[in-house]
């Protein structure tokens, strides 16, 4: 026993001290980090649901694949419903992708999507992000009907607004597929539950 303590006391002591240091840092900074995440979410919601002033979270029965699913009723300054925002997450090519999907008031159309957290391949998979007009992928979801799940195509179908055809970034990017699956999850599992919260 003495030999054990002799050899390892420093490691154990440092372990305890560093653990305390990390706990203190985490406690001190956690509020700020959460605030940053909320701000990113609010910014995304403002981008995908036009006219929103405030939001209120609603409880839904069946959540999506990840437990990050959150559904918000989007209201304007007078408290009228202008749309819905769904934060949903799902597996991506590298790690989890979290995005916000905006739905119209009746829930029959997507008003847009915006990935808010992802680690997809720079220059390739990360074109799922809304950077500028060069990134057509997320912009093509705006205005699409939510009647049927989307399907991925390599051909140029981005302007086919009346169909459920989504154009992939390239034929080889899984990121396009994963984002589409998250959106499909939103429109099949979550959208039907919105009606009762109107």
């Amino acid at each position: 026993m003495k030999k054990f303590v002799d050899e390892s006391w420093l490691v154990l002591a440092m372990g305890v001290v560093f653990a305390a240091l990390l706990a203190a840092t985490h406690t001190g900074l956690n509020d700020r980090i959460k605030a940053n995440e909320v701000e990113a979410l609010n910014q995304a919601i403002e981008e995908v649901v036009p006219g929103v002033e405030t939001k209120e979270q609603i409880e839904i029965e069946e959540t999506g694949a990840g437990d990050e699913t959150a559904v918000y009723k989007c209201l304007d300054a007078d408290g009228n419903l202008v749309g819905w925002a769904v934060q949903a997450a799902g597996p991506g090519f590298i790690d989890k992708i979290t995005l916000v999907a905006g739905l119209s008031r009746e829930g029959d159309r997507l008003t847009g999507i915006k990935p808010i957290k992802h680690t997809e391949t720079p220059g390739l998979g990360n074109k799922i992000d809304v950077k500028d007009e060069l990134n057509f992928y997320p912009l093509q979801y705006a205005g699409r009907s939510t009647a049927a799940p989307f399907e991925l195509f390599k051909e140029r179908v981005r302007d086919a607004k009346d169909t459920n055809r989504i154009e992939a970034i390239t034929g080889a990017t899984y990121s396009s597929q994963y984002v589409m699956e998250i959106v499909n999850d939103v429109i099949t599992r979550i959208r039907p539950q919105l009606a009762e919260h109107r």
Binding site: E7, S8, L10, V11, M14, G15, F18, L21, L22, T25, H26, L29, R32, I33, N36, E37, E39, A40, I94, D95, K117, T119, P122, G123, L124, L134
Partner: protein
């Protein structure tokens, strides 16, 4: 054990920045170098984070050097480095959220950056706090400098901008460069990273070779 008295602390510092630069001479820490130099902002923040970690790691290792038994030293180095990388990660998430998302997984990967554990093993475990700190700052600044050079080249040619932390991107190329898609997108992609690094290491080798020839003559 006496301190390795080959030169002063200032010399140790200068070596870390120039003649023993971790990226351009020792060719260590290539992974973050290639991955996060797609913008100046990312390069500088990564450099600052890595400098913080190597300074704290050297400081603690050096202060405790007489207590660290040889067969647990790697464990202790890793414990120390992991702790301070996590602190840096949390700090970035709190105060520079957007950049921390851009850097993504590469901040936690500082833990496995060879150059940091190398300094602990080669310098900090054998030298006093003064020498170890000089070394850590030298290596950290050398790393940041190398990343900065790559970041400037890649962002300039790849995006037509230069972005400093806490500021908006500064356009450094005429509007036609990016508007018509003439910017060299390859520079922001991995091949551009390798190409730029190859050229910069080549130039740095040339400069060092000339210096040595000049000194010997």
């Amino acid at each position: 054990m006496a301190d390795e008295d080959n030169g002063s602390n200032l010399q140790q510092f200068k070596e870390g920045v120039l003649s023993n630069n971790p990226v351009l001479v020792q060719l260590l820490g290539m992974c973050p170098t290639l991955a996060v130099t797609n913008s100046v902002e990312n390069a500088l923040v990564m450099g600052a984070a890595a400098t913080f970690v190597v300074v704290m790691s050297n400081l603690i290792t050096s202060a405790l050097r007489n207590l660290i038994k040889p067969h647990v030293r790697i464990l202790i180095f890793t414990l120390t480095i992991a702790t301070f990388v996590t602190i840096a990660d949390l700090t970035l998430k709190a105060f520079m959220y957007k950049v921390s998302l851009q850097l993504g997984a590469f901040i936690p990967l500082i833990i496995v950056n060879c150059m940091i554990i190398c300094r602990a093993e080669v310098v900090a475990i054998k030298n006093g706090v003064g020498r170890s700190l000089a070394d850590a700052f030298g290596i950290g600044i050398g790393f940041t400098l190398a990343l900065l050079i790559l970041g400037v080249v890649r962002e300039w040619l790849g995006s037509g901008t230069i972005t400093f932390p806490f500021a908006d991107p500064i356009s450094v190329m005429p509007a036609a460069f990016t508007a018509n898609g003439h910017n060299w997108i390859i520079m922001i992609l991995p091949p551009g990273a390798f190409l730029t690094l190859g050229v910069v290491v080549g130039i740095s080798n040339q400069i060092r070779a000339r210096r040595e020839k000049g000194g010997a003559a």
